[in-house]
């Protein structure tokens, strides 16, 4: 589904490139973990997959079409959903409105369906009361679940997450990772998670390690 061709990225000079000539394939219905040392360029790589930045070399194809041809804004809108360590919710809204807003912006097939959004939040353990209060009143784990629910109510087949469990305790981490597996296997989406936690990586179907400017598949 998602194909990375000869991808290269550097910030200032090519000699200091984070990675070059990267060729990878990501399939729907599968979860991937990306691990690697701090500063190795995991976040940078993910931002390229998410269409938040342009590669210096090579290209990324979504279903055979280069994403720069789709247009990064259109790509973000229709093809990719992003989860961040810091949740990145709209802080002036309730969880429910966060979902409804995302559904409206991304033209989700469920757009405007309040019941559907509420059901999703309920499934993720939020009470009806919590759904309609300001999102900042929730705990970190709850906020991250709202962010995940947001990816679930949108149609994007690619879900990328940067250290989604970074701010969560063990219990919450386990629940969140399980959710990602469900998204991959039940919603048949492609889930790519950047993490530095081996436990998280172990749950995913495949795990890539970024080291010495190269990606390698781990056992």
């Amino acid at each position: 589904m998602l194909k990375v061709n000869d991808l290269g990225y550097w910030y200032d000079r090519q000699e200091n490139s984070l990675f070059e000539h990267v060729n990878l394939n990501f399939e729907a219905g599968t979860s991937y973990a990306i691990v690697g040392q701090s500063g190795s360029g995991k976040t940078t790589f993910l931002s390229l997959l998410a269409g938040l930045d342009k590669p210096r070399a090579g290209q990324i194809e979504m279903n055979g079409e280069p994403i720069n041809k789709i247009g990064l804004t259109a790509y973000r809108k229709s093809h990719v959903a992003i989860v961040f360590q810091s949740y990145n919710l709209l802080t002036y809204m309730s969880p429910l409105n966060n979902l409804l807003t995302a559904m409206a912006i991304t033209d989700s097939e469920h757009r405007g369906d309040k019941q559907y959004a509420m059901e999703m939040l309920r499934k993720l353990g939020l009470s009806d009361d919590q759904m309609t209060k300001n999102v900042q009143r929730l705990s970190g784990g709850q906020q991250q679940r709202v962010a995940i629910a947001r990816t679930m109510v949108c149609d994007a087949k690619l879900v990328v997450a940067d250290e989604p469990t970074g701010n969560l305790d063990e219990e919450n981490t386990r629940e969140v990772i399980e959710l990602f597996q469900k998204i991959a296997h039940e919603q048949h989406k492609c889930v790519i998670i950047v993490t530095h936690e081996p436990d998280v990586a172990a749950v995913c179907d495949h795990s890539y390690r970024l080291a010495k400017h190269e990606f390698s598949l781990e056992a």
Binding site: L52, Y75, K77, I82, F84, L90, Y92, A104, I105
Partner: protein, 495 residues
């Protein structure tokens, strides 16, 4: 349309910030509104001035041509004494002019005099000594056999300029109207009434000094009061203004003699639209014999009011633009700061795939919502601020305006025939004019009256204010939106 909902959610969630925005915007809108109100009020005052100050066209004998004729006749036949002959205005001519468009009404004026018979007149100690000890004075000038009572024959007192400008007022009974034609009804001044204990319904006797020298019995139908300002223009040799009476012009003609029937010294036409004064004059000149008669125009009151209102208006215009520009800058700075503070939110929206222009639109909608509330607040406050400012401006403007208009009217009055009759302006028609009642300090009084700014917040004002507000918001969002359009979501979300 999702950005409408986001805008609403944002404003309601961040109440403190929203209230602050509303306050700042209200303050800006308040000043813009005050400027708009003053400007509009000046506009209205100018157009009201058009209606009520009114300009006039006066039909009278062509004295210039008469003088020319007199001089030429002197040179040819030295035997006879030079004589200035002017023809009284024919009412048939006046009727033709009255039918022209833009002529609202007309007033025929015939001035003459008669002696009081059986009652005392008022003597003025301050006026020339010739008036003597009081009653039965010999009157003013000796050029024509004049009586001690100045008679102003008019069509209707209501269209005499001193009554129009309220410097003369009917205090008892009624004024002279068209229905008094052919009657001996008279309206006398209150001082004279007091002196002789006369009231409405009483009769007085007047003895003509010219023509038939007959005695007429007059019925008092009304008493008027001339304001003190009316006497200020009394020239030397004139009788006291309180000795001025109003009758129908037909009576004045009768006193002057049978050849004056259906004539008038002058006829003053009130023009409904002062801007049309010169076109009425042009059209009127085609209807009359210009060698005998002339049409003179007077729209000085209107011009004075217009000039003073234009000053107010241009000042108000400046307020509107200054505040609008300052407001745009202030709001743009606020929006720029707001957008900086909301980088994160913008990043989230961008990561969801929201287009940049819709984010800009969301900010714009938020500001428009703030604007709507602010306009309501400004609408309540605007009347107050506008009134304060407007009064200040008008009092400054009219002081200068009144001064200039008074001097201009006085400048036009030669010392000759004493106080003018009902007509306004400088060109005085007939030779045998006596000090008529009701002098023409009308223009200054009129301009004072009309330049009161009527400050009222109308729906149209608010719509206009809304237009300005929208433009200000649009500009400030445009100025600030560079920040949104350049923002890199990765920088905001990942660093």
């Amino acid at each position: 349309m999702n950005f409408f909902k986001r805008a609403w959610l944002n404003l309601t969630a961040k109440k403190g910030r929203s209230i602050l925005l509303v306050l700042v915007t209200s303050a800006i809108m308040l000043f813009v509104l005050a400027g708009l109100l003053i400007r509009n009020a000046a506009d209205t005052a100018t157009s009201n001035a058009k209606k009520s100050v009114g300009a006039t066209v006066t039909l009278s004998a062509n004295r210039e041509a008469a003088f020319k004729k007199m001089r030429s006749s002197t040179s040819t036949s030295k035997s006879s004494r030079p004589k200035l002959t002017t023809s009284p205005v024919k009412l048939s001519d006046a009727n033709k002019i009255a039918k022209l468009s833009n002529v609202a009404s007309y007033n025929a004026t015939v001035s003459t005099s008669a002696n009081a018979k059986g009652f005392d007149t008022i003597s003025t100690s301050s006026s020339s000594s010739s008036t003597g000890g009081g009653m039965k004075s010999m009157g003013g000038s000796s050029s024509s056999g004049s009586g001690d009572i100045a008679i102003s024959g008019v069509t209707a007192t209501s269209s005499v300029s001193s009554f129009e400008s309220k410097s003369s007022k009917i205090t008892k009974g009624r004024g002279i109207t068209a229905s008094d034609e052919g009657t001996n009804n008279v309206v006398i001044e209150s001082e004279l009434a007091k002196e002789d204990s006369l009231s409405v319904g009483d009769t007085i006797k007047l003895k003509a000094t010219t023509g038939t020298k007959k005695t007429y019995t007059m019925k008092i139908v009304g008493i008027y009061k001339a304001s003190s300002s009316a006497s200020t223009q009394q020239g030397p040799g004139a009788t006291d203004p309180s000795n001025s009476v109003y009758t129908s012009y037909t009576f004045a003609n009768t006193v002057k003699g049978s050849k004056y029937k259906n004539t008038a010294d002058s006829v003053t036409f009130t023009i409904s639209d002062p801007a049309k004064v010169s076109s009425v004059k042009t059209a009127g000149n085609k209807l009359i014999s210009t060698s005998k008669y002339s049409l003179s125009t007077d729209d000085s009151s209107y011009q004075t009011v217009k000039a003073s209102m234009n000053n107010v208006k241009s000042f108000a215009d400046k307020i509107v633009w200054l505040v609008a520009i300052a407001g745009t800058i202030i709001l743009a700075l606020i929006v720029i700061l707001m957008i900086r503070e909301r980088r994160y939110e913008i990043g989230v929206l961008l990561s969801l795939g929201e287009s940049r222009w819709k984010i800009v639109a969301q900010f714009f909608v938020e500001m428009v919502m703030v604007l709507v509330v602010s306009i309501v607040i400004a609408g309540f406050g605007g009347k107050f601020v506008g009134n304060q400012l407007g009064q200040q401006l008008v009092s400054q403007q009219t002081t200068t305006a009144t001064t200039s208009s008074t001097t201009s009217t006085q400048g036009g009055q030669p010392g000759g025939g004493g106080a003018p009759g009902g007509t306004t302006g400088g060109s005085k028609p007939s030779g045998n004019m006596q000090g008529g009642p009701g002098s023409s300090s009308s223009s200054s009084a009129a301009s004072q009256k009309q330049t009161d700014l009527d400050i009222n917040v109308t729906v149209m004002d608010l719509v206009e204010l809304g237009g300005f507000g929208l433009a200000i918001m649009f500009l400030s969002i445009m100025l600030a939106s560079g920040g949104i359009l350049r923002l890199q979501p990765k920088k905001v979300l990942i660093d």
